[in-house]
Symmetry: C2
Amino acid sequence: MHPDLNYHRSVLEKISPHIHRTPVLTSSTLNAEFNAEFFFKAEHLQRMGAFKMRGATHAILQLPADAVEKGVCTHSSGNHGQAVALAARTLGIPCSVIVPKNAPKSKVEAMEGYGAKLIYCEATQADREATAADFQDRTGAYFIHPSNDEDVIWGQGTAALELMEDVHDLDILLVAVGGGGLLAGTCLAAVAMNPSIDIYAGEPELADDAKRSLQAGEIIPARASTTVADGLRTGLGSVNFPVIKKHVRDILTVSDPQIIEATRWTWERMKQVIEPSAGVPLAVVRAYPELFQHKRVGIILCGGNTDLSHLPF
Amino acid sequence: MHPDLNYHRSVLEKISPHIHRTPVLTSSTLNAEFNAEFFFKAEHLQRMGAFKMRGATHAILQLPADAVEKGVCTHSSGNHGQAVALAARTLGIPCSVIVPKNAPKSKVEAMEGYGAKLIYCEATQADREATAADFQDRTGAYFIHPSNDEDVIWGQGTAALELMEDVHDLDILLVAVGGGGLLAGTCLAAVAMNPSIDIYAGEPELADDAKRSLQAGEIIPARASTTVADGLRTGLGSVNFPVIKKHVRDILTVSDPQIIEATRWTWERMKQVIEPSAGVPLAVVRAYPELFQHKRVGIILCGGNTDLSHLPF
């Protein structure tokens, strides 16, 4: 995957009718505190509440014409499952999601609300994958991977593209890393817009496989993690890792208490409901303030889907 | 007080350097559900988190030059106290706030953070007023009333003015009513922009003095209320009531559970942290849907200051 601004723009043009162009938020309090300028791309205000809508929409738009009959499928009980469900409905494609039996009721209901057919499996990664493979074999449905798919990655990159179209002369982009799709897409789009921009990623200490992968120069698989940033528990993949290795300047880790504090601050002061994964970049700013001083910093607030009955604070 | 668009525009021009021009938010889900178009003026994103910043700023700007020495004062532990404190600091005027001894710590800290001097009094309306009167006598400080003051009312009206500048052809404006400052200001600005617009107010059933006042044709004092919409527990005043009587089409009441449900929906679906008072208009929409069908409806989200450790849901 190599950067080409025209291609990024064509991806954005293709998905634009089906997604929101999210606003950019600022906080003069925060700018004063850190002697820097922060620009928050509000992907928690994206359709279905996360940037994942971009990649899912783009991947489905790239499918052959027979996707209308064969449909798409994925296995995720989180934002990606909802994104594939809503993007498929928006584009008139049948959608099935393989869901572990213990998936939270709210997420299951959201996917059903978006018209997806649910197929239950055991709550293990192995059974998820086996059930998905079996379903694909039987139906010919196209599988949409949450992060390790070129078309998904190009789609996720459009958040950074819009941000850099709206806010000029950014010095730094700071993004959370989980499966690596958003980070790789951000790298490709940002470098296409401005080859000298610095790209940093934030990661929970309790799920620091991306940091260790970058240090080792090869993918270190994610361990089971209980980090409150539940969207960032997954590991990198063969498609996105080379991009990340090439373009990311550093991956900075933060503790769960730091993530919770930054998330709460965003609710309290910016009045924005974000999920803990989206609090990771601000937690990084608080933990490594010297990196951002006097800089213009773009931050992607990746999502806002959180259970109000079980707040982390 | 009579409407004159030029005057409203001059008020907005005067306060503009000191306030945010807040964005207008929409929800396609909500529009589809009610077969209407809703435009939310996001005053929870205003400086200090509420529309009150507008009135306080305007009132202080209208004071004589000796306000720089004599200072301003008010008695409020809520948004108005914070607004006067921040507006005064912004404009370089000393500020004192009379605060009941039992005021929540978070609010007291916010006012101190904005540089106000705090004067504690007993937790009764009588002692508040006596302490404030005594303070004024001793210092000559100018008292800024939260809602029954022409300059405050003109200031609050600028939220509706901005909304109607940004969104054309509104059929209805829907605003919560507590002390009546926002509602009266909205009436004056809205009618100046469009004399045929319909203005409705929403009020908690547990604090329905404005509804009863409108029915009686005279001010019925507010009773002590425990409504979750704590910003709306106060009563109307002699300056704002005639404006409200002349221009408001109806005042519609909603129960506390309806207010809590609408507030929660706004957090969950629009990802916006609003205080319960700001959930009242949406609760009205849900309770009286036929009124809004096929209409373009402007709603003011009046504030977002709420204690995350004590959510109403």
